[in-house]
Each structure stands twice: as structure tokens, then as C-alpha cells.
Symmetry: C2
Subunit: 242 residues, 2 copies
Amino acid sequence: MRKFDVDNSGVHDARFSENERDATVRAALRMAAKRENGRKNDPQRTQENILDVATEEFTTHGLAGGRVDAIAEKTRTSKRMIYYYFGSKEGLYLAVLERAYRKIRTLEEDLQLSNLPPEQALRVLISTTFDHDETNPDFVRLVSIENIHHAAHMLRSEAIRDLNVSVIETIAAILARGVAAGVFVRTADPIDIHMLISAFCFFRVSNRYTFGTIFRRDLSEPATMERHKGMIADAVISYLKS
Amino acid sequence: MRKFDVDNSGVHDARFSENERDATVRAALRMAAKRENGRKNDPQRTQENILDVATEEFTTHGLAGGRVDAIAEKTRTSKRMIYYYFGSKEGLYLAVLERAYRKIRTLEEDLQLSNLPPEQALRVLISTTFDHDETNPDFVRLVSIENIHHAAHMLRSEAIRDLNVSVIETIAAILARGVAAGVFVRTADPIDIHMLISAFCFFRVSNRYTFGTIFRRDLSEPATMERHKGMIADAVISYLKS
DNA sequence: CTTGACATACTCACTAGTTCGTACATTTTA
DNA sequence: TAAAATGTACGAACTAGTGAGTATGTCAAG
């Protein structure tokens, strides 16, 4: 039997209150002791398990292509539980999407860029964005899927919308400092710059298969990755300096 | 009897060979005359009609999300005809994909760039790519969908694979001329440059909805478009000059 | 510290509706 | 009249979702 680690750090913040979490942690410890005999009630683990499997299913087959039955089969639990916890296929998909976004927020949060010189700060930011997309293909695919569906589910989730805004502020600050210091000569819109960076990093992952097929090039090769990382950074910076 | 061949050598070639096109044009004219009374056999028009509707359906709902019955209802004809001509839902999807690619090839074919100075040639090429993605959101969406399906259908179609290669040759020539003339100082890989350009142009369209939702910005606004077009061109050129 | 009532977590089997695909009949064209 | 093109109706399989009952854990009262 497979064991699932119940690590999930920030995940339950939204769904469970502090009190409830304590209760659940205690419960989990109790559970851990007598794991091998018959049924155990472990809602947290069950939900995480469902979300893990659902993420895999939706990212490989899309929302419409993903099968609830297929998800159910791969979980430790049953289809009935999926509906018990998430209400519907769409509800499950939304939960998957939100969890993916939440996971990212924690990563993006602290990057001490304000004490670095502007150009270096920007390079670090670009490198971070690049690595982020590279190491989170699931997230990239979910966003692609969302776009096919006209971002319909995203619209319903404020949690997701009020995200990325901090990145823009970070970029705006770097650009302002750069111009003030005379390192950058161009005054650019921070959202545009974010898009220039994000487009390249995202595309490398989202279009990996078609691009790879057409040009017979493996974009996940380390050497290619490093070259691309350098290229996007140089392109953005030379743009701001020209 | 079914017209659809398993190896589909017959269907697509026949539909687009020069000889038959003339024949069909003549037929179409004949048809046009007596359009209002009862059923007319017009296979070409029927197929085109199905492909138009199917493109719309697949680009809005994806491959799995697209419904054959929905397509059939919106056509001038019946579901039976879809299977008669395309064999299966996947066959139809593949035909849609191939037609989209074919449409693009004709557009990309002749761009007389070799007699323009390198920098200007590159600007024209970038502008063309930009406009292309902008005016062909269907194509962009189909490619996105293909990536979700790991480019599985693209692999089966050589027609599609042997495309874009000409763009690379064009870029390679421009870069070589630029370096020779001393306008560009950096020797870059043409495929990388193509990716830098394509990523931005593609992303603007493919991620229009999520990006628009998060940053509350309409990417299809003319002013925004022009600014972006200038930005990607400047970024690429300043990169090559640095 | 036991009991039993209650809430939560969970199981099993089932269904209503959808969806791709086809058998069969018919009409048009060459 | 043969072959190609088309319309109608239907079915088998799949798929999202549910009804109804069971197990487990909690907690308060005896």
C-alpha cells in the first residue's frame, strides 16, 4: 500500500480554522499509531490524497477530459468521497486550481530585492520566475486549461485574483530605482515588463510539446535551460538600457 | 460505404488536389444556381462547413469538451456526414488542426525580407508574427490544446511537423547578415530568437483571459497592442545589439 | 469511566442522462 | 443503374452524480 505524507504546510489555512487544525493534528497523531487495522477516519489525508490525484488527472487530460471515476480509482478512497468533500467535478477542479495558486504564493513571498542594485535585482527576479515555471509544470498547465475555458473558474475565486499583484509592485520599485540611478534609460510599464518575462518563461513550459515536436529540441535539457535563462534576462535588461 | 480511409491518404489529398479543386469550383458554380430547391450534393461545401463549425467548437471547449452532437447541430448537415467524411471525433479534430496549419503556411510563405536591411527585416518579421497570432486566436488555442495533449495528434501529422522550419531559415539569414554588417554584435541561435519572439506573441493571445483577469487589462486594445508590438521588437533588437 | 447520543467520515450500489458511433433507408449524381 | 452523398433513428458504453445506510470518533451525562 502506498503511504502519503501528510506534510501539507499552508494548505489548510483557508479551509480550516486554527482551532480545528489543532484538533486535526491531535487526531492525526492518534491515527498514526493504529494505522494498519481496518478503516481510519482521516479527512485531511483523504482530501489531500484526492487533490493530488485530481491534479495529475486534470493536468494530463484537461477539465473536460479528466474523469471523476479515473480519479476515484487512483485514490485511497471512493468516488462518493470526492462528492462529499468537493460537491462536483467543477468544485474539485476549482479546489485543485486554488491549491496550486496557494502553493505558489508561499514561494514568491519573500525575495529581498530592495537592497540589491536594480540590474541584479531584476536578474534575480527573472531567474526566480524562470525556475518557478520550470519546476511547476502542473501550475502552468492548469493556467493553460483555464485560458481555454476563458478563465471562468478563476473569476469565481478572489483568492486567485488578488495574487500576482505583489510582483508588479516589486518590478515597479526596481524600475524606478534603475531609472533614478541612471542604469535604465527607458521608463517602462511594470505590467508590460512582467509580461515580457512571464511570456517567455511560461511558453517554454506550456508549449514544450509542440515546440519540441516541430524543432526537435528538448527544452528541459540543462544547457538549453541555462542559455534561455540568460537570454531572457539579457533581453529585458538591454531593452531597459536602450 | 465509408469514404474515410484508415491511413487517410484519400480524404485529405483528394480534397485539396489542384485538379479536383477546379472541378469543385465548377461544381460550386453549378450548385449556386439551383440553391433553393431540395437537397443538393455538395461534398466540398459540406466538409468546409463541418470544419468551420468544428473549429469553433474545439477552440471553445477543447478536444474532450467539444461535442460531436453540438457540432452536427450547428452544421448545415448531419452527424452522419461528420463520420462519413472524418471517421471519428479525433479524425475531425485532426482535420481541423491540419487545416489551421495549412492556412498559416500560405500566409507565411512570401515575405521578401532578403533585400531589406537586417534590423528592418527583423522588425517586419516580428510585426508579422505578432499580427498573425493576434488575428488567428483559433490557431493559438488549437496549439494550446495540443500541448495539453502532449502534441499527440501533431506527431501523427508530418504535414504539420515540416512547417515552421522556413521561419528559422529566414531568421538565420537575417542574423548572419546583421552580424556581417556589424549591426548585431551577438551571435544567437535562430531557434532561440524565434522562441523569444513567438513566446511573447503567443502568450498575449493564449493567456489573454487569465492575464486579463489578474491584471484587469484588455490586451486586445489597439493602444496596448501597438505598445507591445514595439516592445518585443525593441527587446529583441537591443538584445542582438548588446 | 462507562454509556449512549450525535456529528463527521465513509461504503456500496445504483441511476439518469449524455455521447460517440452506426444500421438502415433514401436521394442525388454520373 | 452504380456509386456517392445524405437523413433518421437508435444503441451501447460511459459518466457525473446520488440514495441510503454504516463505521468512527467526540463528548456530555450518569
